[in-house]
């Protein structure tokens, strides 16, 4: 018998593109980025090693600190908001209602739209001089105020709202599939025992749906770290720097402010944070129980 490598040589050839991408486009670029982050590179990468000074500068930068805080606020409201709204939508849709597919279609369509489109639509709807605020004033409520988009301390909540509008339908779709998989016997048994519906949901159904909640949370969290276009379209980081986010910070310092050292340090911090959160989950999900070998 030929050695395993030779036996599967064609499989190795077929995997060559994937290996090339992994080695050069993933690992190589990551190492390169980390290397730049330890230099004093400005417009062009240079190779004088400056230790952790870019990282010190990064965490001394008000813009970065605000970006991280905004990401935390946005992420918390966005994830929790999407999970709650998505769960409620799924539960209410699961009550054998009329026109279920119409509602389902309405709740999910924003997910097909890009963050750019989402951002622009909400920017227009909540425009303080022409949008909802002005409309309500025209209706006769002269003092009505909803100008969060132009307020530095509130605009990040509008971004979270727009994000929820876009992604709640995703959570609904995932959880609805989960609810449809719940055994009908369970509901009958609960009814026999006279347990109120809400308690069945809280104590039995939600635990059953845990894997779906985890999946949804992972998907939403990935979107949180990547959030860039939504902010660009909705506020472009403003007013001032009040809605900056890390992804935007990096792109700006890479391509407009020409500070490679600082930008790569920031992106390295982003990556390490994500890896720390993900590694345990990926391990549990994929590698603890290996599939039986063919």
């Amino acid at each position: 018998m030929k050695p395993r490598f030779l036996r599967f040589w064609m499989a190795q050839v077929a995997l060559a593109p994937a290996w090339l991408i992994v080695i050069f486009a993933y690992i190589g670029t990551i190492l390169w980025t980390i290397q730049i982050s330890f230099t004093s590179s400005k417009v062009f990468p240079v190779s004088n090693y400056v230790g952790f000074s870019q990282y010190t500068r990064l965490f001394g930068s008000e813009r970065w600190i605000i970006s991280v805080q905004n990401l935390a606020i946005f992420g918390l409201i966005f994830i929790v908001g999407c999970l709650i709204l998505g769960f409620l939508l799924a539960v209410f849709l699961d009550q054998r209602i009329r026109a279920e597919s119409v509602f389902r279609t309405i709740f999910l369509y924003p997910y097909a739209l890009s963050f750019i489109v989402t951002g622009l639509v909400w920017q227009w709807t909540l425009n303080p001089t022409l949008g909802v605020q002005q409309t309500v004033r025209n209706w006769g409520w002269e003092s009505f105020t909803f100008d969060w988009l132009s307020r530095g301390d509130r605009a990040i909540y509008v971004i979270a709202l727009a994000g929820m509008w876009q992604a709640s339908g995703l959570v609904m779709a995932i959880l609805l599939a989960g609810l449809r998989g719940v055994d009908g016997e369970l509901w009958k048994a609960a009814k026999v025992d006279g347990i109120p519906t809400w308690r069945v949901y809280v104590h039995i159904v939600i635990p059953i749906l845990t894997p779906m909640f985890v999946t949804a949370t992972v998907l939403l969290a990935t979107a949180v770290v990547k959030v860039y276009d939504l902010v660009v379209a909705l506020t472009n980081g403003g007013p001032g720097i009040s809605t900056e986010v890390p992804a935007k910070f990096v792109i700006e310092y890479l391509f407009q402010r020409q500070n490679l050292g600082l930008a790569t340090a920031a992106s390295t911090v982003m990556m390490i944070t994500v890896l720390c959160v993900l590694a345990p989950w990926l391990y549990v999900q994929y590698f603890r129980k290996p599939r039986s070998a063919h």
Partner: protein
């Protein structure tokens, strides 16, 4: 769904649950209010695009247009200014199509072969490759960007459509591989073994056995990639170059350009035009779209 309806005919032995009543109205009230929350932006977008500017200045967002016209749509399509040139959003649409078609085909081709090799053949190192690909799906793009710009410049692909296509293929690989690997994991191994006994090689089994079986997952993958690539902003902005900006980038330039009075009707028309392709895919594919996002929901 079918099983639930079937169960409805079985009388539970306990006290009959109250089905019709105030609770029922509550259910519908919640669903209708939620539907309004999801529909209002779409309504505002459409209504605004059909109004002339002086009607918009009166500031009634929800009012129906007095005399609806498609002037703003025509202007958005052929005259709106994106930065310096004023050729309308249709330039971006053409660019988006030129980026989309090769990106979808290439990423599915590489992803399906990789998924197939990983699930049936599992050559040496397959697990490592799979682990890195999985991690790659979650790592923020910011870490890859600058070196990729440099690499693509070295091979003269930076600021070109092949360059963006390449980037979409690179970053589509984890999801595509996962999708196909999971799909092939569900195909009975005996089928594969039988093909091996019959003397089928790597490519023969892939092309003549697996690919014909893969139609459903190819549809799902195509839906995911079409919406994802069409909606992309970041890669188009960084890798395409000014001449080749996709529609999303041009749309943002139209709306957020700082000079002159903002023509909200034109902006909204341009926004709708940009959203048309993913919306079309969503409405046409229906359940497949849901299946796509559920499969995209990284599960093993």
């Amino acid at each position: 769904m079918a099983s639930l309806t079937a169960n409805a005919h079985v009388e539970p032995s306990g006290p009959r649950p109250k089905r019709i009543g105030p609770g029922r109205y509550g259910v519908y009230a919640f669903l209708i209010i939620s539907a309004l929350f999801f529909l209002i932006p779409l309504y505002v977008m459409i209504v605004t695009s059909l109004k002339p500017m002086d009607e918009i200045r009166m500031g009634n967002l929800f009012a129906l247009p007095g005399s609806p016209s498609f002037d703003a749509w025509i202007k958005a399509w052929s005259q709106a200014c994106t930065g310096l040139n004023c050729e309308g959003i249709h330039v971006g649409m053409l660019n988006s199509i030129k980026i989309l078609i090769p990106s979808v085909i290439l990423s599915i081709a590489v992803g399906s072969v990789t998924g197939y090799a990983l699930s049936f053949w599992r050559p040496k190192g397959a697990n490592i490759l799979f682990a890195i690909l999985l991690l790659g799906a979650f790592i923020p793009y910011q870490v890859f960007l600058y070196p990729l710009v440099r690499i693509l410049s070295m091979v003269s692909l930076y600021n070109s459509i092949p360059g963006v296509v390449f980037v979409h293929t690179i970053f589509g690989l984890p999801l595509m591989t996962l999708l196909f690997r999971n799909f092939y994991a569900g195909i009975p191994i005996d089928l594969f073994k039988a093909a091996r006994v019959d003397g089928g090689g790597f490519w023969a089994i892939f092309l003549r056995l697996m690919l014909p079986l893969s139609t459903p997952i190819i549809v799902v993958a195509a839906i995911l990639q079409i919406t994802g690539i069409w909606n992309d902003f970041l890669f188009g902005l960084i890798f395409a170059g000014r001449e080749n900006f996709p529609m999303t980038v041009q749309l943002n330039n139209v709306v957020n350009s700082s000079f002159g009075e903002k023509e909200y009707n034109v902006n909204m028309a341009a926004t709708i035009l940009t959203a048309l392709v993913p919306l079309f895919v969503y409405f046409v594919s229906g359940r497949w779209f849901v299946r796509g996002i559920a499969s995209g929901a990284v599960k093993g």
